[in-house]
Symmetry: C2
Subunit: 334 residues, 2 copies
């Protein structure tokens, strides 16, 4: 029995090698019953784990990784600070990786992290991502918590905001302000976050008996100059009386385009944007925002990660929803 | 001679073990002559490096670390993007660490990086730092490039901007606009970056025969609420007709304080700030800024790092200075 290995042990137990391996590593995804069964059989059959590999695995890196699209984004930089506040209390280091919305980069990062470099991963997925096999693989080996931008179809803890309600309420606010022709700047449309925001807008129109008009929808091209030209074109040709921007990046180009086209905010057009911009109250005019609780989302995601690492978290597939706030300012006549 | 080790080899060569070790690793700090001498002696004495250790050392991590005070700072987030642009071309990963201006955190990070986790470090030092022994130690083992916030007394490549000239010119601009009582919001005063900015202000006053008045100087307390109260107090009691903010973080509190105290910008007071804020042109009023070439600084720092890693850089103690731009806007009556 000297060369007993995980594969043979798994055969004896009638379990998959992956399950046995996870049970031996005390992984949170394996039930206490299975763990007891596996350990008993391992003992009975004198299974000795590879001591070098085991040592590597037991050695805590005291580091968590944060994978995000961009640090030059107020939402993410504030979320990181929330994560770090919790990590600091636990004497953990935080490594930050930017994907710049590239699926390829996200895959490369996550693959490097499997090797025990970090104890856990907090991730907000790239907008380009549409295949999540790499993440399904990684969550077998290391705890992962998703925040803000999540996959619906992955079994993991998710922290999001009320994306649907946020745009629904914002659209209703514009309608209450008298807007009848509301443009929508659509981003993140490959992922659930973006889809929910868009649904909120469409359903608010429907509930207020305003027909949906696809000419008023502008899809983010991931290119600043192109976006700016498209926004100018939308404002010039369609003459919307309201705009909802589903991401902060498209709000400022709107301001510049209005300046250039001599369109007055809020007299000619009212603007609302998802934004964690600190200068929103100081803009000319001040900007009405849907503000996500970025710092709190980071704190919540990190707190749950540490509960998982402490083996004190028992709802591995739960979604936690934090509420955003609609802050009414001059750009919608407040 | 089987148990020949670096210590004995060093004795034979009359060199320090550290120098011998670095020569064997082909470190850029060791002269070609010394390397040749060490390699010849190692061969003569049949010195065999520990193959495991050697393997670890030769194994490139293809990763560089960036250590900065804050990602929620437009200068640093843009600099990171410059660094990543270069790293991407070389197929390198970038790890980002935030120190939150804490010397202790900076020391902890750098010590973890000695072990070969990364091939090089780009660092902008924390404002709290006044002891740099940890960095002197690290640069013996791994290439380090300093950017923006640097130590004058460390032998390493440094990329900075023209801090002295920037505030000198900004102060002259305020004087040309008619300001006679110019307040200065002083930050980073423990490090050379902050000292040079402050010197630029003081010398511009002197050259324009305006007496220096310490009552007009407000020192950053590293606490947002305290800073805000201090700024209000300065504006209320001293009634300056101009303000230079040596960091972006203190400019927006100035705007809020002026609003609260009913002080009109630029009629009653003119404001200039170091800033890479994208919204500077959209503020009410738009803000005159000293804008550092953040993206270019990041690119330059990373380019030099790769030259060092390629052993194609031969001026290990050079300082590269990039120029900032004074962008005149409404807050100084432009």
């Amino acid at each position: 029995m000297g060369n007993m290995n995980i594969k043979k042990l798994a055969q004896e137990l009638n379990l998959s090698p992956a399950t046995v391996s996870r049970a031996l590593r005390d992984n949170y995804q394996i039930s206490p019953e299975t763990k007891t069964k596996v350990l008993a059989m391992a003992k009975k059959l004198n299974y000795e784990p590879n001591p070098f590999a085991s040592n590597l695995r037991n050695q805590k890196s005291k580091t968590i990784a944060v994978i995000i699209p961009e640090v030059a984004n107020n939402f993410f930089s504030q979320a990181i600070n929330g994560i770090e506040e919790i990590a600091r209390m636990r004497d953990y280091h935080v490594l930050i990786y930017q994907t710049h919305e590239k699926s390829e980069t996200e895959i490369a990062f996550t693959q490097r992290l499997i090797s025990g470099r970090v104890d856990g991963i907090l991730i907000s997925i790239s907008s380009e991502t549409n295949d999540n096999e790499h993440l399904k693989e990684i969550i077998k080996n290391i705890p992962v918590v998703f925040f803000d931008r999540v996959y619906e179809d992955i079994d993991a803890v998710k922290i999001t905001t009320d994306d649907y309600e946020s745009t629904y309420n914002a659209t209703c606010h514009l309608i209450a302000c008298g807007c009848k022709k509301i443009g929508y700047l659509l981003a993140l449309n490959n992922i659930s976050t973006g889809k929910k925001r868009f649904d909120g807008y469409k359903n608010a129109l429907k509930d207020n008996e305003i027909p949906y008009n696809s000419d008023l929808i502008l899809t983010d091209s991931n290119n600043d100059e192109e976006n700016y030209e498209h926004i100018k074109q939308l404002l010039h040709t369609q003459k919307p009386d309201g705009i909802i921007s589903s991401v902060e990046e498209m709000a400022l180009p709107c301001y510049y385009a209005c300046k250039e086209l001599d369109i007055r905010i809020p007299d000619d057009i009212k603007i609302i944007s998802f934004s964690n911009l600190k200068t929103a109250p100081l803009l000319n005019p001040s900007l009405t925002t849907i503000t996500q609780p970025a710092f709190e989302i980071g704190k919540e995601a990190a707190s749950i990660m540490f509960k998982i690492l402490d083996k004190k978290y028992f709802e591995p597939n739960q979604t936690h929803i934090l509420k955003s706030t609609l802050i009414k300012r001059e750009s919608t006549s407040f």
